[in-house]
């Protein structure tokens, strides 16, 4: 596969991580709770960024499975936060309209941010409804959701904060 030689620079800039420093000790992969489910593990992701394997990375399911637990970043001897690198890969995939390797993961993040955009806070019920409708994952977790609703843990109505103008400006401030 043709390497993209500028890719390591782009990802390092966006993630604020020096990806070139990775010497492949595998501590990130060893501690990663989601590595078992990834087709490309965190250390491999860092190596592939170094080697400019942009297309494979952006199309991968792995970049959407990082939970952001920061185990890798805490343990890396070179102080690389692989989670931040993976966040940057997601952001590049979104910007370049590469279809997400885990579509429902992206749909959830979109629904979550839309909730903040709309109310300033996350409102579970409307957020979950949007997620269910856009991901077409209609059947899962209805029992658990109902249980929480009955127990009063999911509020029916959202509340909007006063500073919505500031929230709008923060969304505009993004890269």
């Amino acid at each position: 596969m043709e390497p993209n030689l500028g890719f390591v620079e782009q990802v390092s800039d966006l993630s604020h991580q020096n990806v070139r420093r990775c010497y492949y000790c595998l501590r990130c992969t060893a501690g990663c709770p989601a590595a078992y489910a990834m087709e490309i593990t965190p250390a491999q992701i860092l190596k592939m960024v170094q080697l400019g394997q942009k297309g494979t990375l952006l199309r991968s399911s792995a970049i959407w499975l990082c939970i952001g637990c920061e185990t890798c970043g805490t343990r890396c001897p070179n102080e690389i936060h692989a989670g931040a690198v993976i966040d940057a890969l997601r952001q590049i995939a979104i910007a370049e309209k590469v279809p997400a390797g885990e579509k429902t993961v992206l749909k959830l993040h979109e629904a979550f941010l839309d909730s903040i955009r709309l109310w300033g806070r996350m409102h579970e019920l409307t957020m979950l409804m949007q997620y269910k409708l856009t991901s077409l994952d209609l059947l899962s977790d209805l029992d658990m959701g109902l249980d929480m609703f009955v127990k009063g843990k999911i509020h029916p109505l959202p509340e909007r904060i006063r500073g919505m103008g500031e929230i709008k400006r923060l969304f505009k401030a993004k890269d």
Partner: protein
């Protein structure tokens, strides 16, 4: 009047994490700590903002720091581990990244003073109060309650945000709290492992896999309960443990499964302090009352 703190509740404290909210309020009252909610706070961005945009990841919590500055108190107490981590990250960025600070000061119309310190509520209890003070309120010691402390991820990681108020690989402050409340802090190997976080809604197979490891690890260690400081960990361990793994949707419950209750650390404090808290216990998805009843604690 005890010490005052600025307070950031976050979105879950009165909803999915209502047990955390109610117990926090009761315990702070009992300890004479006054929590002053910051005005018109917004969501910290949780697991989603950082996935989508680097600026938004820091900008959403930065607004809360600007609001906290208005309160005029230096310590900002945050119960939720994830909210705490986001606000701490934003504070580091405001302090160290001049361009980001200038951008936020412009967008939010404030001047960053660097005075407000975002802190986990567990850190506040464990490090601002003496053991004597924490123990003095105990009227109902949690005798016989064997619990593992489940710190999870963002409460103590990464240290560049948390500042090492507890060890990122071998934290002890929650264990110490369990012991102070009269319970037995059971050592185990999974205290800083991840529950799967927000994958719970779209890759629940991963979350069930991780929660199974945690609950089985707790059981093997001889614990009958788990303790957390994170509403996401709570939702996952409380909600997912009884389900079968693998890919089938909708997920089926495990046959004849013995449940493992999980508490917020503030719930254990409320119980030990004899505060009026029984009603909220029933809101857990795994009802902890049979265990507490058997031990004569509730």
């Amino acid at each position: 009047m005890g010490k005052q703190y600025a307070f950031y509740p976050g979105c879950t404290l009165h909803t999915t994490g209502v047990e955390f909210g109610v117990s926090t309020e009761l315990v702070c009252q009992a300890l004479g700590l006054e929590m002053v909610e910051i005005p018109d706070w917004n969501c910290c961005g949780a697991s989603s903002a950082h996935s989508m945009d680097h600026t938004l990841f820091l900008a959403l919590p930065a607004r809360n720091l600007a609001k906290a500055q208005q309160v005029g108190l230096d310590d900002l107490a945050i119960p939720c581990a994830a909210c705490y981590s986001r606000l701490a990250a934003a504070d580091v960025a405001l302090r160290e990244d001049g361009a980001f600070r200038a951008q936020m000061e412009d967008v939010l119309g404030f001047g960053y003073e660097g005075r407000v310190r975002p802190r986990s509520l567990l850190d506040v209890f464990a490090n601002d109060l003496t053991k004597q003070v924490l123990r003095a309120e105990v009227v109902n010691p949690l005798k016989g309650l064997k619990a593992v402390s489940y710190y999870g991820c963002l409460l103590i990681r990464p240290p560049k945000y948390t500042g090492r108020w507890d060890d990122p690989e071998h934290p002890q402050s929650m264990d110490a709290m369990v012991e102070l409340m009269g319970g037995e802090a059971v050592p185990w190997s999974y205290g800083v492992d991840c529950c799967g976080g927000s994958l719970t809604l779209n890759r629940s197979d991963v979350v069930v896999h991780l929660v199974d490891k945690l609950v089985e690890g707790a059981r093997e260690a001889g614990a009958e309960a788990m303790v957390t400081a994170c509403p996401m960990c709570m939702a996952n361990v409380d909600g997912r443990q009884k389900y079968r793994g693998g890919s089938p949707i909708p997920r089926k419950p495990k046959p004849q499964y013995e449940t493992m209750p999980i508490f917020y650390f503030t719930e254990l404090m409320a119980l030990a302090y004899g505060l009026p808290f029984q009603k909220v216990l029933g809101k857990h998805l795994v009802d902890p009352r049979p265990l507490l009843g058997r031990l004569g604690l509730a």
